[in-house]
Symmetry: C2
Subunit: 167 residues, 2 copies
C-alpha cells in the first residue's frame, strides 16, 4: 500500500480543491466538542448514506460512527464509551440499510480472495439487516462500558426511498 | 442500557420527523453500491466534522468510516478490506482533526471513571494528532488485507477554519 508524492493521484488534489471551496464558507463561530443533542449515531460506511442529511443533523449535533455494516464491534463500543463518559452523549441510534454489501458474501469468499492473511479474520457478514441492527442494539445494552441509562434504538434506512424504519 | 417504548425520548421522534422531510426529497435515481470515486475516507466521530461537506463528496462517491480518533483499528482494516476487495475502492484518506478529544485524557482516567469492566480496554488516546494520522496511514500500508496498490494519505482537519492539511 504505497503512498507518497509519486503515487498521488488527482483524487487527493480534487479533495483539496473542494476543501478550499468549503473552507471559504466555514462558520467562524466555534462549536463545543460535546454533541449538542447528546446523541451518537452508528451507521454503515456505504457511499449512498449521508446520515447528517437523512437525520437532519446540524454541525455539532451528534457523534457519527461508521464501519462496514453498522456493526457494534469492540471498536464502536470503545468509541461510544468515550462519547458518553467524556463528551456527554446519552443515546445511540444504530442504523443499518437495505441493499447492504454485508449480505452479499460469506467469510470464506473474502478469505479466498485475500489469501492466508485473512484466514483468521471475521469480516462480520450477515444475512438479515434488521437482525444485525437488533444485535447491535443488544450489544450496546449489554456493554459494561456504558451505563443502563444510555439508551439504544435501531433502524433500517431504505436506500431507495431515504426513509428509516424502526426495527 | 435500556431501550424500548417506555424510555424512548423525543430525540428519536425528532430524527423520524427530520427523516420524513428528507425522504420527500430523496433522489429517485438509484446509485450503485460501488463508490463512484473509488475512495474511502477514515475520520473521527467528532460532531463538528461533516466530511461529505468539507471534502465535497456527493452521494455515492466514497465510503466513509468514522470512530473515536480516526484511528486505523482492526475494525477499520476489516471495513477497508471489504471496501477494496468487494466494492472496488483504490485509495483511502485518513483525516484527524484539531481539538480532538482523544488528546484530552489518559487510559487510566477513563478506566477510573468506568470501573473494573474497562481495566483491560485500550481507548487509544493520543498526544499528537498528526502523529496519530501518520500511524494510521502506516497501518493501512502495512496491512496484509490490502494490496500494495491501495493508496493511503493523511490529513488534519482544522475545526476552526474548515481546512485540511496534509501530514
Amino acid at each position: 500500500m504505497a503512498s507518497g508524492i509519486l503515487l498521488r493521484v488527482p483524487q487527493v488534489d480534487e479533495l483539496r480543491t473542494a476543501n478550499e471551496r468549503y473552507a471559504a464558507t466555514h462558520p467562524r463561530r466555534p462549536l463545543p466538542a460535546e454533541p449538542a443533542r447528546r446523541l451518537a449515531v452508528v451507521t454503515c460506511m456505504d457511499a449512498r448514506l449521508d446520515p447528517a442529511r437523512f437525520l437532519g443533523l446540524a454541525p455539532g449535533d451528534a457523534h457519527v460512527l461508521r464501519n462496514a455494516g453498522a456493526i457494534v464491534t469492540d471498536d464502536v463500543l470503545r468509541s461510544l464509551a468515550i462519547s458518553h463518559h467524556l463528551l456527554g452523549t446519552q443515546e445511540v441510534v444504530v442504523i443499518g440499510h437495505t441493499q447492504c454489501g454485508m449480505t452479499s458474501f460469506a467469510n470464506d469468499d473474502l478469505r479466498g480472495r485475500i489469501g492466508a492473511a485473512a484466514a483468521e479474520v471475521d469480516f462480520l457478514p450477515f444475512a438479515d439487516v434488521a437482525d444485525a441492527v437488533r444485535a447491535g442494539v443488544r450489544a450496546v445494552e449489554a456493554s459494561p462500558l456504558l451505563p443502563d441509562s444510555f439508551r439504544a434504538s435501531g433502524f433500517v434506512y431504505d436506500v431507495a426511498t431515504g426513509r428509516i424504519d424502526a426495527v
